[in-house]
Structures are given as C-alpha cells and as structure tokens.
C-alpha cells in the first residue's frame, strides 16, 4: 500500500473522530483533530509533489470494489502533474482555512460539527482530484456537493441559509444529471471508466458517432458536453450560476474554502482532466470557451453594483471561473489550471478578509455601511489590498501572470473564437479591477458610515485569523512566479516552470504571435487593470457623489444589473413556480382524487353528493381505486388490441 493513500483518508479519520466524539468529549478542542489531519495531508501532498517533480507518475488501485465482466470499480489514485497541483491547492487552502476557523467559529454551538464537515469536505475533494477513474471522481463530486449543502445550511435556523443550501443542491442536480449521463456514455463507449484506457483510446474514436433517437451525434462532442454539464453546475457557470452567490449564506471560511478555492474549481479540473476528450471536439471546446467568456462578463457586470461584501466576491469568483473555462476552451488547459491555482490563493484571501471584516462589523455585510476600516484593521486592509491588486492583474503579483497567460493564449491560440474571447477577457479584466477596488475604497477608505455601536466595536481579528491571512497573502503575491512567461522570463533568467511541468498531461500549445504582439497584449491587460483601479478611485474617493448620480441617470441599466439580470426571477417564473404549481395542483390533486373525482363524476351534482357521502363512509375512495384500476386495464387492452 502506498502512503499517498493516506492523503484523503487522514481528513476522513478526522471526520469520523469528530462526529463520534466531538459533541461529548472533544468540544472546544475539536479543531485539533481536523487541523492535524489536514496538515498531515499537506505534508504528504508536498512529498507527492517532490516525487512527481522527480519524474514519477503514480497510479495504483487501493482496493477493488467490484469486478463484473469487463467492468471494474475500485478506489484508485492517480497522482500526476495535474493532480499534484490540485493537491497542493486543496491541502494548503484547507489547512490555512481550518486554522482561520478556530478564531472565526470560536464559541459556536456546533463547533465540532463544523470541523467534522470541513474535514469530510476535504476528504471528498481529495478523492475527487486523486481519482484514477470516473466513478470515484463522481463519488467525490457528489461528496463535495453534499458537504457544500450541509455547510451552506450550517446556520439552519436562518431560513435564507437553508433555502440557499437547497438551491445549491437542486441546481447542482441539473448539472450532475448530465455529468452522470456523460460517465454512462464513457462506459458504453470505452467499456471502462478508467482514465488511462479511456484517454488512450479516445484518439482512435475521434470521428466516431453515436446514434441517438435517429440522429448521428459526434461521440466525443457528446461526451465532452455531457461532462461539461457537470462542470457548469459545480463551477457556477451560466445558466446554472444562480446558486453560488446565495451560497454565501454559509460561514465565511466555507465560502473561502468551498465556494472560492476548491470545490467550485472542480469543474475546471474536470475539463482539464478530460482534456484528451475535449481536445477532440472543436464544438465542445468552443462551447466551453464561450460559456466561460460570457459568464465572466456577465458576473463581472453584476459585481459592479452589488453592495453585499461577500456577494461581490462571489460574483468575482463566478467571473474568474469563467476565465478558467475560457482558457480551457481555447486549448490552454495549463493556463486555466495555473489561474485556478493562483486564484485559490487570492480569492481565499479575499474571502477570509471579508470574514475578518464581518467579524469586526458584527456580521454586517453592506459595504455602503462601512468605510475607513483601514484605521482599525491594518492587517486585514493590507492583505485584502494585495489580494485585490493580485486579482486586478498588477504586474509581479500572482494574478497578473495567470491572467496574462490566459489572455495571450486566447489571442494567439488556434481557437476560432479566440480573438473574440480575448476581447471579452480584456473587458472583464477592466471590470474586475474596477469592482475590486470599489470594494476596497468603500470598505476601507472614506468615512465610517455604520452605526455608532459598530464603530465602537471595530477591532483587528485575533492571531489565529490574521496569520492565515498573511500566509495566504504570500501565496497571492508569489504563487505566480512559477509561471513567468518566456517574454519576461528570458530577461531575468527563469523559465515558465508550470507550463513545462504540466506539459506531459495537458500539453502546451504554442502561441502563433510574435513577441511584439505578446508585449502589446500584456500592456493592454496591465493598462485596463490600472484604468479600472483609477476609475474606481475617481468615482469613490475623488467624486463620491458620482455613483449615485450615475445610478439614477442609467437607472434601467443599474436596475437590471442590481437585480442580476433577473435570472432568479426568470427561473422562478419558468421552472420553480410551474413545478410547484404542478406539484400542488395536479399531483396532489390526484392523491386527493380531485381530478379523478372530476373525471369520474361526469355530473356536478354527483360530485357534491359523493363528497358528502365520502365523509360518512370511511372507505369512500375505494370505488375510485377500483375504477382507476379498471381504467388502466381498459387502456392497456385497447392499446394492445388496436396496435
């Protein structure tokens, strides 16, 4: 047995211990178990990284679950370059956020429960990324979804929280349905669910078609798109993005870990993992790229006008996830994963800073009621500022390198929609810088706009919270240095390490542009970032009355954006309400035999007579049951005989 198998099972053990002994014995010490376990996983992950850097790829089956004919399911782990990057991201973020939670959740009644779920989540996420087959991937996929559901609804006494949990769960069912089907089709096509044979055989089936209801469907496109359905749900892309902003009802460490750094990126991971399949279908790649691009623009525009601190960051997450898909869609999987990796640091940091602010503000989330917090919370301010610089693409910081890589790949790649998504990406870079700094300026600068009480309570967060902030901040600054593009790298003597590292799994498409073009693209992206920051400075520091006036003048646009393009209302109108209506009126109608009653009683007067008779005879519906049975027989007989 390989010791790397312990990576997911340490957190699982922590979960079991906490759930069994947490309430009675561990209580306030529950975090120790979880933190030690996750830290252990981190150490092993680092060892795995060293191992993989040394050129080893590890693929082994731990335990065979079932074996029937050619079909085999086992718990097996594949540790290659892609996995190892994910392992580092997941265990690092998870460890830091576990530590942060010690301070954040202090005194909560469900302390042990929180840590138990957090560990369970870490286990599921690690199972997801380490799987060597689709079924285990699916297992982890559903596992993280379930933990997400539990943790969003953690404050279950709050109706909005339990509603948000339900929403996340139900919306994800839509995506997972496609994902499940995708795995079925994979199995039907390849006769196995293991990555290795699937990916090695995929090339031979590049032109295969699949007859579905009389249509010939390009097989690889079908598989890729079905799998992508799962990605769309999990990574909150249009049209299934609606759950993520609501998921902010969960505790902030959860938002940071699950809804920013790890779980939501599983969709990107899935696309990257299945890159041998996606690469065979131009259509699928185009869908991925366009979905990503449109989502990133869509979410960024919504983020411009929101006032809820965490929701702004949530829309920013949706937008950045769109970026990653955009990258994958133009074939630059490495760039997508690179962005996933840098994004994990600065976005987790943003969320934890937001949590720190909430901590100080007594749970207040409206940035219009904040201001001048930099005076009271210097550490939070500095770290959040750096994270915002990073996300805005200020040169030298982590976000800059990954974002630049994506934009360049989009521009110079072979994708037919490359130039188009590059343009959108650049626009989004501008918007991102703008809303990130709108957040900074409204929260930390200007005058404090909250109540007197709140001002009195303002304080910096405890060490257990600020230390993770600082550590993540290091990541937000330096994480990108492993992927410095050749353009700059040549001058300072470093390579694009991550691109070389990932090449064996994800390939590395060469751009078709000149150095000069690359330089222009880079300068444009820097320029729009700075312009966004500048505009935010102008509007919220120099001319603070301007935003309100602008909102008034462009009230139609403002309202559409503020109400998130009315997508929730649209879904409520076309899906939720009809479904509830059908359930209530049509289906319950059948149980109450109302419809049947109406059908059976041709004469209205008979209905009245019947319902009064019904009360007297306890077994009144019996006749109806028999009538329905007879109707069933009649219909079947008629169909079979007239056929």
């Amino acid at each position: 047995m390989n010791s790397y198998a312990l990576i997911p099972f340490l957190p699982l053990a922590a979960f079991v211990i906490n759930i069994l002994f947490g309430r009675k014995y561990l209580k306030e010490n529950a975090h120790w178990v979880s933190i030690l376990a996750v830290a252990g996983s981190w150490v092993l992950a680092v060892m795995a990284l060293v191992d993989v850097l040394g050129g080893n790829t590890i693929n082994f089956d731990l335990y065979t679950w079932m074996l029937s004919g050619g079909f085999k399911v086992s718990v097996g782990f594949l540790i290659d370059q892609l996995t190892v990057v994910m392992l580092i991201v997941v265990t690092t973020c998870s460890t830091l956020i576990h530590i942060y939670s010690v301070g954040y959740m202090h005194g909560d009644s469900g302390y042990y429960r929180f840590f138990a779920y957090l560990s369970l989540f870490t286990f599921s996420m690690l199972m997801l990324v380490m799987a060597n087959n689709f079924l285990q991937l699916y297992f982890g996929w559903e596992g993280v979804g379930l933990c997400s559901y539990f943790l969003i609804g953690y404050y279950f006494n709050k109706k909005s929280a339990s509603d948000a949990g339900k929403k996340a769960f139900i919306v994800n069912r839509f995506g997972d349905f496609g994902f499940g089907l995708g795995i079925f089709v994979v199995f039907l096509t390849f006769g196995t669910v293991y990555y290795e044979p699937v990916f090695s055989q995929a090339g031979g089936l590049a032109e295969a078609t699949f007859n579905f209801l009389g249509y010939d469907v390009h097989l690889m496109t079908l598989i890729a798109l079905l799998l992508f359905c799962g990605s769309v749900g999990k990574s909150a892309q249009i049209p299934l993005h609606v759950w993520l902003p609501d998921a902010m009802e969960g505790p902030t460490p959860v938002s940071a870990l699950i809804h920013a750094a790890t779980m939501v990126t599983a969709g990107v991971f899935l696309v990257a993992r299945c890159s041998p399949i996606f690469s065979l279908s131009e259509t699928a790649l185009m869908v991925v790229a366009l979905t990503g691009a449109i989502t990133s623009l869509f979410a960024a525009t919504i983020g411009l006008v929101q006032n809820d601190l965490k929701r702004i960051i949530a829309y920013s997450t949706v937008s950045q996830l769109g970026y990653m898909f955009l990258a994958c869609g133009v074939g630059a999987y490495t760039a997508g994963i690179f962005h996933l990796y840098t994004h994990a640091f600065f976005k987790a940091l943003l969320f934890l800073c937001a949590g720190s602010v909430m901590h100080a503000m007594g749970g207040e989330l409206d940035i219009q009621k904040m201001g001048n917090l930099k005076k009271y919370m210097p550490v939070t301010y500095m770290t959040m500022l750096i994270a915002s610089f990073s996300i805005s693409g200020i040169p030298g910081l982590a976000g800059f390198f990954s974002k630049d890589e994506i934009l360049w790949m989009a521009y110079a790649g072979e994708s037919p929609v490359g130039k188009f998504v590059w343009a959108i990406g650049t626009l989004v870079a501008f918007l991102t810088a703008f809303y990130s700094f709108r957040l900074i300026f409204l929260t930390f600068h200007g005058k404090f706009r909250g109540t007197h009480d709140q001002e009195h309570h303002l304080h910096e967060s405890p060490k257990s919270m600020t230390i993770p902030l600082m550590l993540l901040c290091v990541g937000a600054v330096a994480a990108g240095w492993v992927g410095i593009p050749a353009l700059i790298g040549e001058k300072i003597g470093v390579h694009n390490y991550i691109a070389e590292f990932m090449k064996p799994v994800l390939g590395h498409p060469e751009g078709h542009g000149t150095h000069a073009e690359e330089m222009v693209v880079m300068l444009i992206s820097i320029a729009v970032g700075l312009a966004g920051i500048g505009l935010a400075y102008f509007m919220y520091i120099l001319r603070p009355e301007l935003p309100a006036r602008l909102a008034q003048q462009l009230s139609a646009v403002y309202r559409v954006l503020f109400n998130k393009y009315y997508v929730d209302e649209l879904y409520s109108f076309i899906i939720v309400r009809p479904a509830i209506w059908i359930a209530k009126n049509v289906l319950i109608g059948i149980t109450d035999a109302r419809i049947i009653e109406a059908v059976v009683n041709g004469v209205p007067s008979a209905i009245a007579a019947f319902s009064s008779g019904l009360r007297k005879i306890q077994t009144g519906l019996m006749q109806h049951y028999a009538t329905i049975m007879a109707t069933g027989i009649l219909i079947i007989v008629a169909i079979m005989l007239l056929r």
Binding site: M66, S68, R173, I588, T619, A626, I633
Partner: protein, 475 residues
C-alpha cells in the same frame, strides 16, 4: 388405483413452515409470553434456510419447482420474516395488540410467498398468492381498535379480490387457449401452434400483468398501497413492502419469461409504460407526503418501477439484477421501518416527517442509521442501494432500453429530494420536543443486521450479485 408417493424433498422447507405455523397456532394457547412464539419462528427459519439449500428438484407432477431462482427469492422471504419478527414484539406491546396469531399469520403469509416463488403451475401460483394475501389482509387490520388499520385491511382485501379476479380471468383464457396451466407447457403450446399473435392471448397476458402489478404496487394498480401501508401496524407495513412485492416479482419473472417468453416484445410494450408511470407517480407523490409511512409507501412504489426495468430487459443479467435489487431493498427498507417503529411510543405516533427534526441531536445513533438507509434508498454510493440500481440500469442499457434508464435516473434524482429531506430535518433542525426511543434488543439486532447488510453489500457487492446470477441460470 395405486397412489405414488410424490417426492417431498423439494417441498421440505414449505412442509416445515406449515408445521411450524400450525404448532405456533396451538402453542399460542399455552404460551403466555408471546415473544416466545417469535423466538420459535426465528429458530424454524434457521432450519428452513438449511433445508432450502438442499431442496433442488421438481415435484407434484411438475407443479412445484425448487430451483436457484426460487431459492434466492425464498432467502429474501426468510430475511423478510426474520427482520419482521425481530422488530415486532416491542411494537405489539406498545400498541397492546400482542396476540399470538400474529406470528402464525406472518409464517403463513411467508409460506404463500414461497409457494409463489416455486410455482410452475398457475393453479399453485394462484393458491400461493391467495394464501399470502389472505394472511396479509388480516395482519394489516391487526390493530382492531384503530379505524385506519381497519381501513387498510378492508381496502387491501377488496382491491386484492379485484386483482385476484383479474388473475383468474387471465388464467381461464390461457387454459381455454392452451388446455394447460403448466407454465412450460403453455410456452411450448404457444410456439408450436403459432398463438403468438392471438389477441386473446394478449388479453390474457395483460390480465396477468395487471394482477402482478397490483402485488408489486405498480401504477395504476398501486392505489391500495399508500392507504394500506399507512394504516397497517408498522412491522407489517415493513413486511408488506418487501415480501408480497418480492413474491410479485418472482411470479412476474417466471410467468413472463417462461410461459410468455416467446412474446416478449409484446409484454415489454405493456410493462414499459407501467414502469415509467410507476417511477413517475411514486417519486413525485412521495415529495408531498407528510406522513413517513405514506412517504415510504410511495417510495416502495417507485422502487417497483426501477425493478421493472430488469424484467423489461428480460436478459439473464436483467433478471439477476432484479433479484439482487430485491435482496438489497429488503434490508434497506425494513431498516428504515425499524427506525419508524422506534419512534412510536405509547401515545405518540412518531409518524410525521416533522417528528424527525433534530433527531441527530437527541438520538445520534438512530439518526445515523436512518441516514444510511435514506442514502441507500436514494442510491448514493457506497450504500448497497446504489449497487442495486447500478446493475438494474446497466442491464436495461445493455438490453437497448437507454431512454427508459434516462427517465429512471431522472426520477431517482428527484427521489434524492424527499429522502435527503429526512436527513436534513434530522441534522439541520433543532428538536421540537424530546422524543423517547422505544428500543428493544430485537430492534437493535434487526438494525445491526440491516445496516451492516446495506453497507457490506455496498462495499462488497460481488457475492450477492454472483448468487443472483447463478440463480437465474436455471431458466
């Protein structure tokens, strides 16, 4: 005229069962502690299971056959009986209906099921069915002072009689057409005389499908189930939701694959809409229930829909996946009912879904067990329910019914909502009131058995599946 002694070895388990049931009836007069009767029936199950394994053979002029198929089903019936007897005594005491006939009647019902599983002749099939049904009607109405229990019994009885009449009609038609009631002879006659396209054969086949659909509670012949399940004593609800359903599937499989095997294309046309409707109505109506027994009733309807997929597939893989699923279903469903029974105390029904609020806090063990059963019923790995569904769906896909599997997956996704709602209530809500658990060693043992079966089969499914695959090689 000399009368040849029939070979009794194949029917030995049934004979012992009959003997034990009659002894229990008489012992009831002298034994004051009724639990002793339950204990006796448990011992007899051990003996019968032992006899079952060596009972292969055909007897009574080919009317009764003991093969792998029937033995597998009989093992399910034994599990069903043991678990029911284990969860019963405490409930009977709480409800103050601790009468000794209870155990004899469950034994007779199980005997009926065993006869059905082994019936190679429609007459034996029908009589076994009636034996099972009659015992179950009485058991459903066992709480005589309770109107709901009475209602359950009378509805089940009257509609059951209706279904029996349909079955007899079908039998008379097939006898008229083929001059025999033996399943194999019917098959031979149909193929040799080109009856396959005869409309009357079709009608007869439909009548069989309808009667069996009634027993497995498939839509639109399921109407009795929610009322009967809700009103019956809870251990009997558990018993009814597994035993008669399994017996229904046993005869459905045998009659349709043996007697009507040559007209498979025709009967799959009948069963497909029934299966789809069953999954739809079962899952959708379960959503709106507030009573847990009613919800589990609709859930058991839905599960019949899934299992029909295996019959529709009609391949050995399909039938073996039905057997496999039925076996798993017995454990997970009775396990869930055992929890429902534990919530019942004197003066507190504990049957509202809202009664489960905060159970995770007040009774973490019970809640954890319920979670396992709900997960398994949803079909979430690594619980056994997932494996069962997986093999069913695979067999249907391999038989070319991909679109029905898509529908089934869709509905089983919907089912997650109402199963996981219970989980959500248990763990995400604060307890409304302090609920006392009505535990007993019997229920404890039943829960231990069911939960370990659900998890073990989930993790090591190969054994049961191999047994099921072996079982269907006999026909």
């Amino acid at each position: 005229m000399p009368i040849a002694m029939p070979n009794l070895i194949p029917v030995m388990p049934e004979l012992v069962m009959t003997g034990v049931a009659i002894i229990l009836l008489m012992a009831e007069l002298v034994i004051k502690r009724k639990e002793t009767l339950g204990f006796l029936s448990l011992i007899s199950v051990g003996l019968i299971s032992y006899l079952l394994l060596g009972s292969a053979g055909t007897t009574f002029g080919g009317m009764f056959v003991s093969d792998g198929y029937s033995t597998f089903f009989k093992l399910i019936f034994m599990a069903n009986l043991v678990l029911t007897v284990l969860i019963s005594p405490k409930y009977l005491q709480t409800m103050r209906i601790n009468f000794g006939e209870y155990y004899a009647l469950t034994l007779f019902a199980t005997l009926g099921m065993m006869l059905m599983a082994s019936a190679a002749d429609i007459i034996v099939l029908y009589l076994g069915l009636e034996l099972m049904a009659l015992s179950t009607y009485v058991l459903a109405g066992f709480i005589r002072y309770d109107m709901k229990s009475n209602e359950a019994a009378i509805k089940y009885l009257l509609l059951g009689a209706f279904a029996s009449a349909i079955l007899l009609y079908g039998t008379s038609l097939i006898y008229g057409l083929t001059g025999t009631t033996n399943l194999r002879d019917i098959a031979v006659y149909i193929t040799h005389n080109g009856l396959a396209k005869n409309p009357l054969l079709m009608v007869s086949m439909i009548f069989f499908a309808v009667a069996f659909s009634f027993k497995i509670a498939a839509v639109p012949f399921h109407m009795w189930a929610p009322d009967a399940y809700e009103g019956a004593p809870t251990p009997i609800t558990a018993f009814m939701s597994v035993g008669p359903k399994a017996a229904g599937f046993a005869v459905l499989g045998r009659v349709f694959l043996v007697a009507f095997g040559s007209v498979k294309t025709d009967w799959s046309v009948i069963l497909i809409p029934i299966a789809v409707l069953t999954m739809a109505i079962g899952n959708i109506l379960a959503l709106s229930q507030t009573n847990i027994k009613r919800m589990l009733a609709y859930s058991s309807i839905a599960h019949a829909g899934y299992m029909l997929l295996g019959i529709i597939a009609g391949t050995p893989a399909g039938i073996s996946s039905v057997l496999n699923y039925m076996f798993i279903y017995a454990f997970m469903n009775i396990g869930a009912f055992a929890i429902v029974i534990m919530l019942r105390t004197e003066g507190f029904a504990g049957e509202d879904i809202s009664d489960y609020e905060g159970l995770g806090k007040t009774h973490p063990t019970a809640a954890a067990l319920m979670l396992v059963f709900m997960f398994s019923l949803t079909g979430i790995p690594p619980m056994a329910g997932f494996m069962g569904k997986f093999y069913l769906f695979m067999s249907a896909i391999n038989a070319g019914y991909t679109w029905i599997v898509i529908v089934a997956v869709l509905f089983s996704a919907i089912s997650a909502y109402f199963y996981l709602r219970i989980v959500m209530l248990m763990y995400m809500k604060e307890p409304k009131e302090v609920i006392q658990l009505n535990t007993s060693p019997g229920i404890g043992l039943a829960l231990a058995v069911t939960v370990s079966a659900v998890i073990l089969i989930g993790i090591l499914p190969a054994k049961v599946l191999a047994l099921a695959q072996q079982a269907v090689t006999s026909f």
